[in-house]
Symmetry: C2
Subunit: 301 residues, 2 copies
Amino acid sequence: MKAAAFEGWKQQAQAAVEAALQAWVPGAAPAGLGEAMRYGVLDGGKRVRPLLVLAAARATGGDELAAMRPAVAVELIHAYSLIHDDMPCMDNDVLRRGKPTVHVRFGQAQAMLAGDAMHTLAFELLTAPPGHEADFELSPRLSALLCALLARAAGHAGMAGGQAIDLASVGKALSHAQLRDMHRRKTGALLQASVMMGAACGQADARAWRALGEYGDAIGLAFQIVDDILDATQESATLGKTAGKDLDCNKPTYVTVLGLDAARRQADELHAQAQAALARSGLSDVSTLARLAERIVERES
Amino acid sequence: MKAAAFEGWKQQAQAAVEAALQAWVPGAAPAGLGEAMRYGVLDGGKRVRPLLVLAAARATGGDELAAMRPAVAVELIHAYSLIHDDMPCMDNDVLRRGKPTVHVRFGQAQAMLAGDAMHTLAFELLTAPPGHEADFELSPRLSALLCALLARAAGHAGMAGGQAIDLASVGKALSHAQLRDMHRRKTGALLQASVMMGAACGQADARAWRALGEYGDAIGLAFQIVDDILDATQESATLGKTAGKDLDCNKPTYVTVLGLDAARRQADELHAQAQAALARSGLSDVSTLARLAERIVERES
């Protein structure tokens, strides 16, 4: 896929994700809850995780329309985690995607609830409950598999567990191995699950499934390393969130543990691993996934 | 079912739920997260929701062992909501089930994360992910249906939505209809879903499904009315949580809106409705559900 064609696909996919979020995140939820939920997830973000779901579905021959539910679901999990992380008892951040964070805008109680409701909504969308407006139905087998993949990546063994390690690591010296484990859980697990959910929509065979798992693991870790690099080197205005935050909070990062150059080399090496995994997937067109890996590693915000 | 036989069933069921929670809530989750999760859900609570799941499965001929996953899942959702509700930005409560609340014991950040991880774990348990220790497997169809029922009841249209209304209602005069709507969402939805998840395990026919839905709706609302009555009339030591809290917080309750006698009458009337629904369910043995309804209305803590 040429760069221009990828750009076209990406813009179209982002617009479709935005439209699905607009349609599925309920503004009518009571007492301002819907407003807080929509504020927390609409009109912002690069939608990396949904793009990975859609690209993996595409690569495995899955229906991109059917893949929209897991695409939105994983973005809701990501967005809920940001809302909760930004709260005063966690990272106490006031800026996200260039806007005041949800708790600054709506208060802490509503922010916590909005995060909680988005968390549940992710699983509700994957199971298309009776009576829920649905453009299509997922098969029960696919529904259950998508829920399993998402829950495992988001929960105690994945994202939430990584957050707990993150909390406990403030002011501590972590080894490279410990840091890698934290990043894999905190960020990598959900990115990898995005790829696997797309692969599930395309009913990937065992060879492709294994290769995409390796691709997802590599880009998941690379993503967080690049985040660490950007946090240390970019301005808040570029990032749309508070830069230098990890340093200020005395949190170990790839930059503080390995240094900037070694961190950069790690990211490049993981990128190469991701591309090699794609090459052995046996899939005929992995170019969208290849471009996404490139963007994840080369991004500047 | 005689009272003694019911008592025997209840104790056995509670012990089985406790054992499943012990087995399935991971102590090994990293950086103290597992400890906080287990503290928040083990060794406490009446397990009303799991009992409803198991009793409804029993009444519809479902396997009580298979019903243990939704039984534990709904208790995890309930427990996560208590942990988040108790936090300073919400109800700021320090006592729960006779113990310091999770944020008092582990700090706010860990409490929020423990709630989040329990929330996810509920859906993970319902979908029995590959590699997860499982005594049995749920069929994909049952998995997806259970996730749908639980998500719908826990989310913006149910529990989380009810919480948002609750937040917004402090110091306000609600009508009886508004109060009923709030209670139905905040508490009733999850109790009703417990019944329906049990009925799903037993593959209830349309007649039983409808009747159990009515039963669940009635006891769900009755439960919260009785909570309001107990909050106004009992001591903290009896409740295991801070009594008089709603009054102190200037929150509308059935007692403040209708008065104690009318609230009591409402609870009794809902109890009668629940029993009438059971009678028209077409099920041959609804005695366990009947006894549970009785306990919900007549309990003193």
